[in-house]
Symmetry: C2
Subunit: 205 residues, 2 copies
């Protein structure tokens, strides 16, 4: 058999309280893909590893790469820059390596729209969300590490984000960590069977 296939760009987004961190942790245990690693100008936190958690870089390097259009998407958050390098991503996809990009709704939109859709044929985007605002409320309140005001703001933001499920090809209504993981793996497996991504010559034994 002569077989190969395109790499798939799995995008995972979801509001705070959807269970995204737990899902990413579960996916990390059976890694038949690579995580896309963002560049950032913020300082590493204790325990963070350069090249694993982020590509940490100085402001001037980030700006140089930005001017060179090396970022597929970038954002300024609390005074720090974050960005995804186009080159690294494309190289993986071209070599048939699947990439998982954990990114927010705005970032996902930028990746879809990049250069009129350069990545579209590679994308399998998944929105993980609590099934309703009641469950969202319970999950966020369960954390109890915030002031009531901060919690109310986080809740408001999360509800606003939930309305974006339709932007994604897939929506997972979060139930248990096991079930969320099972559904995401099903999506990965199914996407790997999509005929137009396959390069087969079945006729040759």
């Amino acid at each position: 058999m002569s077989s190969s296939r395109q790499g798939i760009l799995f995008i995972l987004s979801g509001p705070s309280g959807a269970g995204k961190s737990t899902l990413l942790g579960a996916l990390d245990k059976n890694r038949d893909f690579v995580f896309s690693i963002s560049c950032t100008t913020r300082a590493p936190r204790p325990g963070e590893v350069n090249g694993k958690d982020y590509h940490f870089m100085q402001e001037d390097e980030f700006q140089k790469r930005l001017a060179n259009h090396e970022f597929l998407e970038h954002a300024l958050v609390h005074g720090n820059h974050y960005g995804t390098l186009r080159e690294t991503l494309m190289k993986n996809l071209e070599q048939g390596v699947d990439v998982l990009l954990d990114i927010d709704i705005q970032g996902a939109a930028k990746v879809r729209e990049y250069r009129g859709g350069e990545f579209l044929s590679h994308i399998a985007d998944v929105f993980l969300t609590p099934p309703d605002t009641g469950i969202l409320r319970k999950r966020l309140a369960g954390r109890a590490t915030e002031t009531p005001e901060a919690l109310a703001l986080r809740l408001r933001n999360a509800i606003g984000e939930m309305s974006h499920w339709k932007d994604y090809r897939y929506t997972i209504l979060s139930t248990t960590p096991e079930e969320d993981h099972r559904q995401f793996r099903a999506i990965m497996d199914a996407e790997r069977c999509i005929s137009r991504r396959l390069n087969l010559e079945l006729e040759n034994g």
Copy 2:
């Protein structure tokens, strides 16, 4: 949560020797869908149950329904008519019930093209195939219930059919019965997460 979704029309095709019967048997054990049951004018074989294996009907009834355009697709095989009723199928899909249609390549093409694509948004079509002709040859020869001539014909037909994998959204390269089943279930699970099929109002707790 207010949630509902469209029914999905899973189509399964594959050449002789692909392992389709085994897969159908495995799927039958966890039936969260209904099998589409064909109508036929051929006589029931021993053990076959009307309304389960087929809807058995007389020639005149079949012809009446045919004249009434009640069949989504139909075919004449060895002098017997076979056909799928549009009404039953559509009713299930509209009620959010998933349907599995085990059908050949020509039948699948007719279902896709029916009335300019009436069913297209419901369809998830899957092609199950041996990964190469060497494995196909081994599997068919393993049956050993045929004359060499009949086997050669079956092999030639199967190889011709294998070239149709690109007509299907998904291609499963058959390995073991367990793995074929796992992949088909993954496709079912993933298809049920497709956002455009969902009718959600997440904002209402």
